[in-house]
């Protein structure tokens, strides 16, 4: 059997998930210029919010997903207001913001583990009954089709919002130069707050989709974050379209990398890619 079509499909699914994480990460990096290491936990928050809503409280699955996404968004927004905004007001260095986000990540992961134990859980409704499509010699599940469609639609919407709306222009102004944006009358802290909301909500969606595809666990955030960050660096940090391209490239390398060696080495492969890029292309594939 030819394995290559399956590897390509797996790569694309992984790329779609990573690009959701990378999108939010780059949006936030663009506006604030620090590596938000707590970004991955937003995916965990989204995943567990849906878990509670649909499996514990019995909400309809669609409603749960929408509320779960909003929940991740609000957590991100709240963190900006409680932690990052006060630090920005004190003109704290990027390193302080980075360490603070490390603290947020550490604490949130612990809270989730305390509330839900470290057990692996799935969000899927009827395990083993989902529809499977065959594409040549490869298969793709219904969930994975949804993942693909959802992330493509989301990227299109986000691209439109950033390009065409006043809000998008304000985000661009803040990303280009926060001081100048302030001078021309943009309420930068408000915009950055929204950016945290949107970025975190998108990450939350990524966590939820993973929950339907495979499952969620408290420690999933770090790995997702790292993949998103690596994808961003491949594509050029702060460049949201570059991040998407980087995500699919990372997905390809990872999945083809484990063709000949065992799947446990996925993370190590991703980091080897990162280090190669840092050494030879620190500003990503698109920049000189």
């Amino acid at each position: 059997m030819n394995i290559i079509p399956q590897l390509i499909i797996n790569s694309i699914i992984a790329g779609a998930i990573y690009s959701l994480v990378a999108l939010g990460f780059n949006l936030i990096y663009g506006a604030t210029k620090f590596f938000n290491l707590a970004h991955g936990v937003m995916a965990t928050v989204g995943g567990y919010a849906v878990f509670v809503l649909s499996k514990v409280l019995g909400f309809h699955i669609g409603v749960s997903v929408i509320l779960g996404v909003l929940c991740a968004g609000f957590v991100g927004y709240g963190l900006d207001k409680i932690v990052y905004l006060p630090l920005r007001k004190k003109r704290a260095s990027n390193m302080i913001l980075l360490v603070a986000s490390l603290g947020v990540f550490t604490a949130l992961e612990a809270i989730i583990a305390i509330l839900f134990t470290s057990q692996f859980r799935t969000l899927a409704q009827h395990i083993g009954t989902q529809r499977i499509y065959e594409v040549g010699s490869a298969i793709i599940t219904q969930t994975q089709v949804i993942i693909l469609i959802a992330s493509l639609v989301l990227m299109a919407i986000l691209g439109f919002v950033l390009k065409k709306t006043m809000f998008g222009k304000a985000v661009k102004a803040v990303s280009d130069d926060e001081e100048v944006a302030k001078i021309i009358g943009i309420n930068t802290n408000k915009i950055i707050g929204y950016v945290f909301f949107i970025g975190s909500a998108i990450a939350g969606l990524a966590g939820i989709l993973i929950g339907f595809d495979t499952g969620i666990e408290p420690v999933m955030g770090l790995r997702l974050l790292l993949k998103g960050v690596i994808a961003s660096i491949i594509g050029g940090v702060g460049n949201i379209y570059g991040g998407v391209a980087g995500s699919f490239l990372l997905g390809l390398v990872e999945n083809f990398g484990i063709w000949k060696i065992s799947a446990e080495w996925k993370d190590a492969i991703a980091f080897v890619v990162l280090i190669i890029f840092l050494l030879f292309r620190p500003k990503g594939i698109f920049q000189k």
Binding site: A92, L98, V99, A107, A268, I275
Partner: protein
Amino acid sequence: MEYIIHLAILFVLYAILGVSLNLVVGYTGLLSVTHAAFYGIGAYATALLSTLFEVPFLISVLIGIVVAGFFSFLMGMVLSRFRGDYYALASLGFNVIMYSIFLNWASVTRGPLGIAGIAKPEIGGVLFSSNLLFLLLAAICLVGIYGISRFMVSSSFGRVLKAIREDETVITIFGYRTLDYKLVVFVISASMAAVAGSLFASYISFIDPSTFTVMESIFILAIIILGGLANIKGSMVGALFLILVPELLRFVGLPNDIAGYMRQFLYGIILIVLMLYRPQGLIGEYKL
């Protein structure tokens, strides 16, 4: 009494890790999030050499130092080209790769099963079998590492490290090859962490990869940030504090696994609060 000795041993181990990490983070200003990797290398060196070849403890410590030195040299060659957030990220990546190796190179490390039956240290016919004797041995190591660190930071070398932290470009145009300095301090710091690893392995007599995660690196970082950057005594204070406080949680009667996460939560909160209100830590001499 045994319990207090146990805590004292833990304190000594983390003091070694903290003091050595402070050389890189506090003095040189490089936010390294990979210290647990070298801790792990030392631990695995002693564990493997003692269980497979019955190599004496001191020799295994030396081999651990050499192996950690070798790996840190390679990593340092890459890392020394970066500063700031990219350094933090790339170093974190190395921790993930190293953890991956501990976990997945099962033919050597036995993967998640870990290595049991590691012998207690025996030096010159003296078997350090009781915890009190072991504490003595560990304390001697700490004193040695403390002394070396003090010597380093009070020499011209240490002053150059601080200048690199403050403005690397400027100290370069005054004729210093900063890459060499960054590399040397990184290798020394990693070698010291390996000593802590060797001690840990022979003390607990069982190790598995879960001790050497990115989270452990964050714990060590929390210790030195709490105690104060660029202050060696501060790292000892930080280690003391962060060893003792989680122990209080035990007295509240929390189950063991939850206590572990409570500790993680606490470390995260400490990092956030410090960044917000006291980024220089308790007695630090450098603000990020």
